[in-house]
Symmetry: none
Subunit: 140 residues, 4 copies
């Protein structure tokens, strides 16, 4: 048997709050998704004005980051034409996201969940994801 540590709903709310605060600062209403370490959704918020299409994208970014233990922008680099992971973006029915904004949540060296942000540019999404994680880490 294995023993796993994962985010609970209170952790998920703290991550969402951190994301929302940064999204407000940069003035971009975001879709914010939090999954557990197995990629299953724990919590989600679409801020007023967040993009409808970004709901699923945010969930899939969080799923990818948690499940693959890798930030989605790293997949973006590795999957450019000519690079080794080229073509991975259509895997798992297109759920595997290679666009920035999905980041694993790592505590004590173990992936305990994932966060996915979508509605801004990939750089903005990524910025908000990291800000959320910083906010969460400061509460531990």
């Amino acid at each position: 048997m294995q023993t796993i540590t994962r985010l609970d709903i209170r952790d998920a709310r703290i991550l969402i709050k951190g994301a929302r605060q940064r999204a407000d600062q940069i003035g971009v209403p975001m879709c914010i998704a939090i999954t557990d370490e197995g990629g299953n959704l724990i919590a989600f918020e679409r801020m007023d004005g967040g993009k409808v299409t970004s709901s699923i994208i945010a969930m899939d970014k969080a799923y990818t980051a948690a499940g693959a233990k890798k930030a989605t922008h790293e997949y973006g680099e590795a999957s450019q034409p000519g690079k080794p992971a080229y073509g991975i973006s259509s895997a798992i029915g297109g759920r595997l996201m290679v666009v920035g904004g999905g980041v694993p949540v790592v505590v004590d060296g173990a992936v305990v969940g994932g966060i996915g942000i979508s509605s801004g540019t990939p750089a903005q999404d990524q910025d908000v994801a990291f800000a959320a994680i910083d906010h969460f880490m400061a509460t531990l």
Copy 2:
């Protein structure tokens, strides 16, 4: 042109809080999904212990209730063998839910969103959905 009234993220949080309170009372950790009147997800929470399979079911119940302007248990009755809507449960790739726990949120006669609850029995899910709406209506 049409003018539409819909739930915002603060309304969604009030609905989730109402659902969570009732779920705590009956001792069943729930998946709670809130959509706007177009069936698009606004907010979601899986309480600690809520079922993984119920994440998608809760979202699809809320989608069905908002989009079809009908509680999912009403579809349950109308889709029994020999009834007019028989077979509707597999529509939309299985997203159209006919199991109780999805209820449209109606304000001033207009559907402004949907709530979907899953993890308990259909009767428990439905009870929590109505409790959430009562809690929300009391705040208007």
Copy 3:
């Protein structure tokens, strides 16, 4: 943060061995799937002669049992026409299985994974699933 106990690959192999032994006894080559408590696949074997269609059915039975913390035959009873969960069988893109043969693996009161068996009659599938769990429990 939550702490979760789940099956590891050695546990999964013991469960598969238990299933195989019982399948051999009754003379029905089976598809055997083991998931963790989040419904994600850990191990799978299709015995020589097992049904091709049963590969996915076995995986989805294990997913349902683990994710919903409920044996699939219990859903079968609850989803008959006129019963409360009628129509649930097409949920989650049809992944939610209500046919017997999916059973949660419970250790010390907690669901730590799921097993799904398919290729025989539902009664045979269920029998093999329970035999696998008995075999596993005897090794703990």
Copy 4:
């Protein structure tokens, strides 16, 4: 009528063992999938620490390699922008994998199955797939 030679479950286990040994050597826990020559899954193992997202990717790599009688990295080359198979990676609902790690198993000139490896870099996945086939060939 045709007579087909294909892997049986014992062959599949030998391939998995070969993959696991190489994965242990390079220190990367892998998802390992074996299909028959029709692309249908025979056996699967996710080593402890293997990626959740890689379960489906490994199965789809094996499916692609067996079904198309071609290693997935060969598709990677042929599907680069401007090349003849450009865009093939989203075929079959995204199941056709063009990332290295899927290799057909060929015996006496005939494809008898496929192996798919995922969780490492594509180069690591490919290396483990070939090591598994070498291990299997040595037992024939």
